[in-house]
């Protein structure tokens, strides 16, 4: 059944693979189609429900101290004044240089149309589907995939879903790339050669593996290693030592490299916002990961690319206006959207502030949403990718009323 293959054949075939790869227009990333546009968008899903009222604190509103106690302006690690009314959580202090350069902004009191049930599952489904409600059934594609479907010359490397998260926001018919820097390759040089050989006869496997080697070789460390299997496993799994430390940096670095090449849209998620208890200890850690991700991204792309990049972080809902019995907050409604990037007209808080007097709260409980966060996203997409308003209101976010231009970009 089998035909023996000797080492000479093997070497000859390896050489052949090398040639044919170089010659194949389909397999080399330089030939992958890029969109005509030069702007970049990075979407970060903050899963768990970020407490916007703690991240961007309305310390100028007397009702706020009534709800939350001290706003922390004079704490040992004080909140940072932004505009005389709002103050930033101290854990985001590393982002302040961006704020001063107009490259950081926040939309306050925004939310998806999701109301009342306050379930993570449904809230995230709606956030990623970009729909008004899910009573018609679960969506088959995410709004970011619909954006791709409406970019005339997007190619397979235009959009990247990064990390282990399935990222429904990018799921759908338009082809995207997926990669998780945690799932790196670490193989002996000979195993790489043999793997190339066994894949070579099967075009589907060969194309995927060739690309995998290219991506993995350029994500911070080389594939080839001389480690033992045990070492290779720990290298490849990149299991973070502390809790989630460093994952976001690796993800952001990977995305930064792709943005410098063909990629225009990327998405990833940061978990850990579901701060039901001891929020003063849990939230800073998660905020540090967000700020690490944004700054790593800025460091990885060139200045020129950063000037065309917008990062937007969204969450499925905000949290209760009051602190609960375990020094945390429960699932709420209105929240904060974080925006960063060189193209931003930032250094300000966007949106209509509803106030946090009890009567001003949604159901006397949560921050009242005054704007659909999809309209912020829609205006962003309008400026970044030139998507027409009609497409945005009917296809990307069906049923959305764009409202007034918040002039984010």
């Amino acid at each position: 059944m089998t035909t023996p293959l000797n080492r000479r054949d093997f070497l000859a075939r390896s050489a052949l693979i090398g040639c044919s790869l170089a010659a194949s227009p389909l397999l080399t990333p330089v030939s992958l189609a890029a969109t005509s546009g030069d702007n970049r968008l990075v979407v970060i899903l903050l899963r768990g429900g970020m407490d916007g009222l703690d991240v961007v604190r309305p310390y100028g509103d007397p009702a706020y101290t009534a709800l939350r106690g001290d706003a922390g302006m004079n704490a040992k690690n004080p909140a940072i004044d932004l505009d005389g009314y709002f103050a930033l959580h101290p854990a985001l202090k590393p982002l302040m240089p961006l704020w001063h350069n107009g490259q950081l902004g926040f939309a306050h009191a925004v939310s998806t149309p999701y109301r009342d049930k306050r379930s993570h599952f449904d809230g995230q489904d709606l956030l990623e589907a970009g729909l008004t409600d899910l009573s018609g059934g679960t969506s088959r594609d995410g709004w970011l995939n619909r954006v791709l479907q409406n970019l005339p010359d997007s190619g397979p490397a235009t959009a990247y879903a990064v990390g282990r998260d399935p990222l429904g926001v990018l799921g759908g018919p338009a082809l995207i790339q997926r990669w998780s820097p945690e799932a790196d390759l670490a193989l002996s040089p000979q195993a790489i050669q043999l793997a190339r050989l066994i894949m070579a006869d099967d075009p589907l496997f060969d194309a995927a593996f060739t690309q995998a080697l290219e991506i993995a070789d350029n994500d911070g460390d080389k594939v080839a290693t001389s480690g033992t299997p045990e070492e290779m496993m720990s290298m490849a799994s990149k299991a973070p030592k502390g809790k989630n430390s460093g994952v976001e940096k690796r993800v952001a670095e990977f995305i930064g490299k792709q943005l410098r090449a063909q990629t225009r849209i990327a998405a990833f998620s940061i978990n850990g916002w579901d701060t039901h208890q001891s929020q003063d200890r849990t939230l800073p850690r998660t905020l540090a990961r967000l700020s690490d991700a944004i700054l790593t991204l800025q460091d990885t792309v060139t200045q020129n690319v950063w000037n065309k990049t917008t990062v937007v972080a969204v969450t499925e809902f905000g949290r209760t206006a009051r602190i609960n019995g375990s020094k945390g907050t429960d699932h709420g409604t209105g929240g904060v959207m974080v925006l960063a990037g060189g193209a931003l007209r930032g250094g300000k808080i966007y949106g209509d502030w509803p106030g946090v007097d009890e009567a001003q709260l949604y159901q006397r409980r949560d921050l009242m949403p005054t704007r659909d966060l999809r309209s912020m996203l829609a205006w962003l997409l309008h400026s970044q990718f030139g998507l027409p308003k009609s497409t945005l209101e009917t296809t990307i976010f069906p049923g959305l009323d764009l409202g007034e231009n918040p002039n984010i970009i």
Binding site: G136, T138, R178, S188, A191, L204, F205, A208, F209
Partner: protein
């Protein structure tokens, strides 16, 4: 285009094993489905009835917690609830090990394949707390016993199962003119989710002959279908929309709201020619190719309609069709199939998995599986796992499979087989020269074994 033992084991089974012989005939494969399910008895998974006890306890603790908020009684209930959650989380990892053991040691591998196929067709999960771990008990009690029965019985059992009612929000759907809506509480109208998925995914298929009006009418007919604690079916007459509903031209109900009208509609949908074609196509895609032979799809459709959707007869028709035995292996194993068939190829001793703790099971199986594109028992949506080969064999998927194949067998089996023997027992009749060469010349046994498992020859069916 005819049966061979190795092709049968690879295409319709769990892969070749050095310890379990391949089937000798189609008749033997079919016969294996009608014998007692001994492998399930050897590697048990909790039934849904037993699982409901966990839900009952979680619900009870939740009530105690709410009624005693801020007191030590409430706090104790909260803590007990956490323990319960943790126990269920660990159990769900143990059950994954049981699935792997079944795939590794079964002599009726077609049963595993069909169980996974139909469980994916009726994809479901719990959305919070203990019920997030319910998928395997559901597979065990709802799907597995019905894979050789009538499709309409499986449809009624699965689509009206309390877990599905919960997953697809049927318990949130009430008739706009129902007594419940008139009360003006939280529930005031329809939620079309379950009705739409029954038509689009479970029966007619997305290209089927139904309209938005049919979706709405079916959703109105479904009002009344609900659940109660602890994950039990409940028909709530007060939620039901008064009057009759017309779905695909046939009128149902009209008198007192009854579950049986819903069942009648589901039986009609199950027997519809579009459902026959949709399921025939899905089976052919799953077992043979993304672009299946039209003659095979036609034969399965015909048999389905002749037998009123008898799944044993449809399976038999598939195994009896020449196109099912096309020598070209045009399909790629989904991620779990890949992993489980690798365990079978290694004949991993049954007690190995049982001895692993939760963390190790996550490191060796659940996390790599997610990197391959399958988040275990946490589906992206009710449409389940992708069938397209390209969804699995993308850069990340291929890399994750290769890395797993080279590293994990070594971690499980300190005494790996010699890769020169392993290539023979694993690929049988299908050893490409390049893979033989890799098995002969790899620097280490772990590389050699890993390369055999990572080869397209192993991953294709």
């Amino acid at each position: 285009m005819k049966f061979t033992p190795h092709l049968a084991d690879i295409r319709f089974g769990c892969g070749l094993s050095p310890a379990v012989p391949s089937p000798v005939s189609v008749a033997q494969m079919l016969d294996s489905l009608q014998k007692p399910d001994t492998i399930a008895a050897r590697f048990p998974i909790e039934t849904f009835d037993l699982f409901q006890k966990r839900v009952a306890e979680a619900d009870r603790l939740g009530t105690v917690k709410r009624k005693n908020a801020g007191t030590s009684v409430g706090l104790a209930a909260k803590k007990a609830g956490r323990v319960l959650n943790k126990e269920a989380r660990i159990a769900h990892v143990v059950w994954m090990g049981q699935h792997l053991n079944r795939w590794t040691w079964t002599q009726a591998p077609l049963r595993e394949r069909l169980s996974f196929f139909w469980a994916d067709h009726f994809t479901v999960t719990g959305k919070a707390g203990v019920i997030r771990r319910a998928a395997s008990p559901y597979l065990e009690s709802v799907i597995r016993p019905r894979i050789t029965g009538l499709f309409e019985d499986m449809l009624i059992a699965a689509a009206l199962h309390p877990l599905m009612v919960h997953y697809l929000d049927q318990d949130k759907s009430v008739g706009p003119n129902s007594r419940t809506a008139a009360k003006g509480g939280k529930l005031t109208g329809l939620n079309e989710n379950l009705a739409r998925e029954v038509l689009e995914l479970h029966t007619l298929g997305v290209n089927g002959p139904y309209t938005q009006t049919d979706v709405r009418e079916l959703a109105e007919l479904f009002t009344g279908i609900s659940k109660q604690s602890p994950m039990r079916f409940k028909f709530r007459k007060n939620n039901a929309e008064p009057g009759s509903e017309t779905v695909l031209g046939k009128t149902y109900g009209g008198g007192k709201a009854r579950k049986v009208d819903v069942e009648t509609a589901l039986r009609d949908l199950a027997r519809h020619p579009a459902t026959a074609r949709h399921l025939a196509w899905k089976l052919a895609v799953h077992f043979t190719s993304d672009t299946p032979d039209p003659a095979l799809v036609e034969a399965l459709t015909t048999r389905y309609l002749e037998t009123g959707g008898d799944l044993f007869e449809v399976t038999k028709a598939m195994l009896s069709h020449p196109a099912a035995w096309a020598p070209k292996r045009a399909n790629v194993k989904p991620a779990f199939h890949f992993m489980a068939s690798a365990m079978r190829a290694l004949a991993l001793p049954a007690d190995t998995l049982a001895s692993l703790d939760e963390k190790t099971m996550r490191r060796l199986f659940i996390t790599p599986l997610a990197q391959m594109g399958h988040v275990w028992e946490k589906p992206d949506g009710p449409d389940g796992l992708p069938e397209e080969d390209s969804a699995w064999i993308a850069p990340q998927g291929v890399a994750a499979r290769l890395q797993w194949a080279i590293t994990v067998p070594q971690a499980l089996l300190p005494d790996l087989p010699d890769s020169r023997d392993f290539v023979k027992t694993t690929l049988g009749d299908f050893i490409p020269p390049a893979v033989q060469f890799a098995a002969d010349s790899a620097e280490s046994t772990s590389d050699g074994v890993g390369l055999v498992l990572a080869s397209p020859a192993f991953q294709r069916t």
